[in-house]
Symmetry: D2
Subunit: 345 residues, 4 copies
Amino acid sequence: MSKKEVYYKDYLQLDKILGAQELESEKAGVEAHDEMLFIVIHQAYELWFKQVLYELDSIIALLSKPEINDNDQTLQIVVHRSRRIIEILRLLVDQINVMETMSSLDFLDFRDLLRPASGFQSIQWKELEAKLGLLYENRHGKEYYVSQLCPMDVDHVKDVEKKTNLLDLLNVWLERMPYFEHPEAWADGAKAKPEDHPFWAEYREKYTGGLLDIEQGNADLFDKTVFGKGEDDKRRLSAKACRSALFIYLYRGFPLLHLPYELMVSLVEIDELMASWRMRHVNMVFRMIGARVGTGNSTGHGYLKGAMDKHYIFNELTQLNGLLVPRRDLPELPKELEKLLGFRG
Amino acid sequence: MSKKEVYYKDYLQLDKILGAQELESEKAGVEAHDEMLFIVIHQAYELWFKQVLYELDSIIALLSKPEINDNDQTLQIVVHRSRRIIEILRLLVDQINVMETMSSLDFLDFRDLLRPASGFQSIQWKELEAKLGLLYENRHGKEYYVSQLCPMDVDHVKDVEKKTNLLDLLNVWLERMPYFEHPEAWADGAKAKPEDHPFWAEYREKYTGGLLDIEQGNADLFDKTVFGKGEDDKRRLSAKACRSALFIYLYRGFPLLHLPYELMVSLVEIDELMASWRMRHVNMVFRMIGARVGTGNSTGHGYLKGAMDKHYIFNELTQLNGLLVPRRDLPELPKELEKLLGFRG
Amino acid sequence: MSKKEVYYKDYLQLDKILGAQELESEKAGVEAHDEMLFIVIHQAYELWFKQVLYELDSIIALLSKPEINDNDQTLQIVVHRSRRIIEILRLLVDQINVMETMSSLDFLDFRDLLRPASGFQSIQWKELEAKLGLLYENRHGKEYYVSQLCPMDVDHVKDVEKKTNLLDLLNVWLERMPYFEHPEAWADGAKAKPEDHPFWAEYREKYTGGLLDIEQGNADLFDKTVFGKGEDDKRRLSAKACRSALFIYLYRGFPLLHLPYELMVSLVEIDELMASWRMRHVNMVFRMIGARVGTGNSTGHGYLKGAMDKHYIFNELTQLNGLLVPRRDLPELPKELEKLLGFRG
Amino acid sequence: MSKKEVYYKDYLQLDKILGAQELESEKAGVEAHDEMLFIVIHQAYELWFKQVLYELDSIIALLSKPEINDNDQTLQIVVHRSRRIIEILRLLVDQINVMETMSSLDFLDFRDLLRPASGFQSIQWKELEAKLGLLYENRHGKEYYVSQLCPMDVDHVKDVEKKTNLLDLLNVWLERMPYFEHPEAWADGAKAKPEDHPFWAEYREKYTGGLLDIEQGNADLFDKTVFGKGEDDKRRLSAKACRSALFIYLYRGFPLLHLPYELMVSLVEIDELMASWRMRHVNMVFRMIGARVGTGNSTGHGYLKGAMDKHYIFNELTQLNGLLVPRRDLPELPKELEKLLGFRG
């Protein structure tokens, strides 16, 4: 691998990175010290969004494989990269502290010069939401969204929205969990339908009063009308996937379920951190512009508040926590199944 | 000051502090490793709430003085202690990261043993909200609140709600700002009513199209029907106080206005941090119990979400940012007033 | 499980927790507002130290079992609790930000009243260091340490220092890794001594120039004189344990090695966070008292700086990173061994 | 101000920012997923260093004015921007958490491809140190420093080292504090030499046993042989500046001294945060490469440890805390002086 020597500033292309700050206020001959911060912090956000997308793309690629071999490193890597996304998002939430050193009056020094640009136009953030699983029809203010972006950017996000997203992959991956169908796994493994399986029967009857309720106590994890993804159904995880997820939550102590559990925990944490970011962002914008409209003619505050409530992506996973029973009450698994969930030893 | 030698563990009364963790699970003969964390983290929260209340009480006492002398340290101390509250609240928001290492299943190991106790029963948190200025009638779920606490605690909070709170003190303090009435301050200082003052006239006509709009562009900071605190008026800051606050935001560059400005900024930040804490708390509870009711039979999640939106206390200050004009367009102040806002030098 | 209803403030024993702040300044009739913060923050530290010790004790108990079954949850739990310790330590490092809102002059208001108490007298912190693996003879300033504590406390720490610590358990656990001895694991599994095994031979000759250097390139992971724990040897991990650790670092992609790897990473992070805490503490003390002696007649600053450099506990693990080779150059493992490192599948 | 519409991604020059990541591993046809993180995190650091330098330059410009008018906003702005630097540095310290998600083995995937580039070659960090006040002769490993950088970069840093730095400006600014010379300030204002002034006499004799000791109790803030900046004297703050700083620490309650005090506090905090960053950096490098040399043939770890201890810039300010006396023992100031330190009112 003989090659040229690498020098720090060339390697990092610092000429580009540090040469990309052009102040509109300077062009306009107006004094606006804080515009530099405004530019740099948004650039830092976009750099990190790129990194998050890079990790997310690799996760999507790994989980798109037709089969995931528990003995290769796929899940380890997926969990590791999810955790990296978490660390980055933690940083991005804290980064708002820096933005908040810019006061409303400081912002006014150059705010009018930026119209109609707006942080709302961050395509990478929308891409991130879409790749995680947010659908166009579930977006808050979707017409607004289309109206504020240039056509090329709208097309780009729409393309991304059509591609495989992590939530759908999660659904497929959970559905494919072989624990209930595996012939060796159950003493009476011949049963045709997993929902008739004594395990679930016991779980339902003994521990949850006959119902595996998700929201109001009258739905059943096996009721196809509820989890059947019918026309009106906005749920994204099928009943089958939910059963697997619940099983993983309950029996995560078994080696084979450890990483699947960690993955689900990580996805929920990513969701929460993005919600925290939106919330801090809402507050920051409100503080910055009071009740006025944003630079992009948006009522930024209103939009962001709407997005804050509606843009959770993995909350169906979180809801399942309402169906757990204490460890000490868990039905014991058949020995054959236990073996399958462990190391060769 | 001759006295006994002090020893670390006696001074800190560590026997009490470290001897106050009694696990219900242990009494019930049930294994529940994470109950210790549950106790310790809540105790740490309550310790810090005590400290925040201690600082807040001192701030309230300082601002309750009939007159605040700009040449003593009152405002310096008030701002300093507000900033300390901010640092503590930052910590308390981050502290939720530790709580989130307890999973829903871990919590189930001992959750039933705690009924009907609930984090909702933290009196100090309610006291904190009340002392900052949250009124009983503005609380989300107030009947619920009464039903969940023991009568002694309800009485205690109600008592606190009747006492002077920081928001009301802020209103009084802002109203008392002498800049507009001060005879020396204006060339035409004899004017009887501050709202007729040329400064505000200029500000309104030239910069905000005749209106000092707060919410929809049709209210006036001088319109008594809007800011008059009529029967139906839920606003807490009077028009007069709002004018002072706006003046401080705009002219904070003058030495005398520096600390008042810092104080307002700090209060808004305290509000935001408490909102962040509530929001992280909502998410944490949802993650912990899915859609189930909390240990105190609360639909904790629903309650918390309601509180999150309604419990902002200083947002009337934040709204004023919508009335700012760029520094470069600010009317110049009369020289006499400028002098009053500066050092003797 | 019928039982009395639990009420939040009783459950948390808030009477004890919130009633344990007695100000020396109040007793002495001196005004010292910040003494409350001083007490509360130290109490919060001690509460968290208790929690960290609680987690650490459980980890030590789990790793003290004569055998660790890879199919039970032992390592999962150990790693999970190590991560919780990490989250707590992150919080404790940030907590210093709150302390730093107390200025030197504020501290002087009550500093003399506390003599000779000193944060140095925190027994739980010393216990924590001892349980992780810090030996009496490796402590910075050990005579000083004995002179500053009451005899009961000295005895207590000395007792802890004699008990099993995590570093020694790590050594035992690593030595007991069965990968090299397992008869099925290697084609030529009959070899008597693992150090003659072709794997290590290949690793040494091909990738590290014949040497598995730890510090200066002239030691060998198989050289008993270096890793033999001779009389003068201050190393705490044996050569055998180091080989296992290195193997785990290199082949952590295999399912069976995932958690062992995560454990080692967590221990190193705990070490780093404790170092960060010491370092922030040093700076905080220096800022607080300049170059003066501490309340316990300590030259606190000097002591803390010494401890900062010497009290790393798991740095022998970190050093091993100097022996890694890139993944792409790693010798492939025998198929039989690979099987043993995977799931039954 | 009629002008073209601004679009987010053009304004931020995202084509440059997001197009500046070229992986050496890709060029070499080697798989190294984590190289992207390595590039992005360093670019984010450099972006933030640019911002810190931008704020620092503005601070230096403001403090370089021949006279600082207490009635304009100079000090307010200086303190505000120092606090922004603090928020940024806090972020940069936390950012290391993200870097630590890259393990040593992950780094090895591409480490050799980067030789001899090294984080050590960050010119902006060196510039920052130099602008704050670190002199070439006080740098740890200065020959090494010269040998590792390209001549252009060495020249650049040397140029910066020759220019006005913040520490020297601080010295000048403190020396120029007029409190002791001001004829109105003291009843016996006619005294020729400030060190003969009764205030200092009282302070010395009554409170510090005749000595204003800085390090070992035998130096005097008025002893010119100690603070005279003689040939061998490495101290950077003169005795006169130290007296002013001490006075500010002690009497910061007066309005005019509030911002000077805040400035000194901020500078010390910047110093501490940079030390924290170096320390976390040391640990991270050690964890990454064990005891091996860095990519730039540096023994990065050794270098960084040296820098960590030696590169404090404002510690002479911190030392002064050792000379404080409790507020209650402070000599009262002459009324005339008190007036000068307050508002016109």
